[in-house]
Symmetry: C2
Subunit: 301 residues, 2 copies
């Protein structure tokens, strides 16, 4: 599971700070999360293979999270894309995008599907045999969802030496990986646990931005491998959280601690702070394993 | 008159090539012409003072000419802008922008006026005592206008030595600058031409992008100081002009020659060409004074 930060700063794009966008590579999928202005250039800068993106998740319709989407959709068309593209985002996103394509007489040649969201309950947006993607309803000035990406448990690992020793025929190996007991060449039952090992525990990632402090999301995030949680402000500016519905680094850390997260990644920093280490220091007073998102940084879990 | 090229490449933004946008500084005005994705970052990169932009002219509603507009409008709001902003562009532009602001509950606090265009005849969009801005109807796949910026003739220049010698009272100097004859301290009429000099000839600039070869625009551009004319292709790819409704460097030069332009500036290059000098060479076979637009380049006239 690799997370590439394309942009992690709040508000307006600058020459050195890009608005929110991330690429999550998980079990062969390349999921794009949010798409601020300039995301298509960031994708090129960090050499992400455009064509592998099939699913785009938009948290909310503030510009710093979605003004780059229409340009990316248009570029896919100019590059001759044929594969379908799925956009998941708040109600209204379809009209905002298609109106612009219509005005430019620039309909996509590839299938473009919008999945509009308006529920305040967690919803499964995507699921296959390897992963699931679920909304995490957040608390912001406009309708906003985070997204929870979960790997499904993989197959059990074969302990080849033990299987050979137990005289299990090769043809039973895939059945063993699936967790079944089998009968060996001597006609005896071989217990699965004696010849297989537990698979890697499934990993999970949650993207929570933008949001006010929202402990209601904790049960959904329980034992998560990695949590990206916005920290627009430091505690010294906590009063700004009330009107803007953002969080502080400390509040992000409280969520990570309550959820028993493996790693907390901070981001969506307000432009007023020169030293991002202040965010880490504030969060580490509550929760130990804190990382700072930075444009271009790749996290592997 | 200073022209700053913020972006001059066709189609999609890349790390090294930005889509169309220009700043024209003329008689104290700072006019923004087109606004491809990433324009607000280019404005910062080239240290253009945001707040001085009061008028934005959008040629047409293809993404590489206007996808950066909604972000710029939003950023003005975040920066606390109070001055009004005028947007001139094809019909539909108001809905495309306001829909996105509405979805983000991000109405501007400053007055935002849209001037929607649908005429196929030249129209005066802006005029004061110093300059006028007129549409130049172009021929593209969607409704498109170029823009013609004309300085108005300035006041005549006082030949102070001559005026003193002719015994003209100081109080008549401003009347002289306005072109009138005056009576001197001896009661004699002093002819204006004897004590004043011609002002600098008014300069003019036309932006013509995107367009197929369109000689109908020549009379409007007659004797223009500087002409920016798109040259998406070279003649070797002339066949692509028919379907895409773009021009070659040669065609741009023919327009410049017919219009008796002072300088031709080429731009909107297709990404297929590695060496932009080929554009200059092709145009110079027809017209001598050819410049190549490049991101960040400033032309002074």
């Amino acid at each position: 599971m690799n997370l590439t930060i394309l942009g992690c700063h709040s508000a307006t794009p600058r020459t050195t700070a890009h608005p929110t966008s991330q690429i999550l590579e998980i079990r062969g999928h390349l999921f794009l999360i949010d798409c601020g202005e300039g995301t298509q250039v960031q994708l090129r800068r960090y050499k992400v293979k455009f064509s592998r993106i099939r699913h785009v998740f938009i948290s909310h319709l503030h510009g710093d999270h979605f003004f780059g989407l229409v340009g990316l959709i248009s570029t896919f068309r100019l590059l001759g894309r044929e594969a379908e593209l799925n956009i998941y985002g708040p109600k209204g996103i379809k009209e905002a995008i298609t109106l612009q394509l219509k005005l430019g007489k620039s309909w996509t040649n590839y299938p473009l599907y919008f999945h509009e969201l308006d529920s305040n309950e967690p919803q499964v947006l995507f699921e296959d045999e390897k992963v699931s993607v679920t909304t995490v309803p957040l608390d912001h000035r406009v309708y906003t969802n985070g997204f929870l990406f979960r790997e499904k448990p993989g197959e059990r690992k074969l302990n080849i030496d033990a299987a050979r020793k137990a005289n299990v025929d090769l043809s039973y190996y895939s059945k063993l990986k699936q967790g079944h007991d089998v009968v060996n060449n001597d006609g005896k039952i071989v217990a699965n646990r004696d010849v297989t090992l537990d698979p890697e525990p499934p990993r999970s990632y949650a993207f929570c931005s933008d949001t006010a402090y929202c402990p209601e999301i904790v049960p959904q995030l329980k034992d998560i491998t990695a949590l990206y949680h916005e920290s627009t402000f430091l505690e010294e500016h906590h009063h700004l959280c009330e009107t803007t519905k953002h969080s502080t680094a400390k509040e992000a850390a409280v969520i990570a601690k309550k959820a028993n997260a493996g790693t907390l990644i901070l981001g969506h920093y307000s432009g007023r702070y020169g030293d991002l280490n202040l965010f880490r220091e504030e969060a580490q007073e509550i929760f130990n394993n804190v990382e700072l998102a930075e444009d271009g940084k790749v996290f592997s879990f």
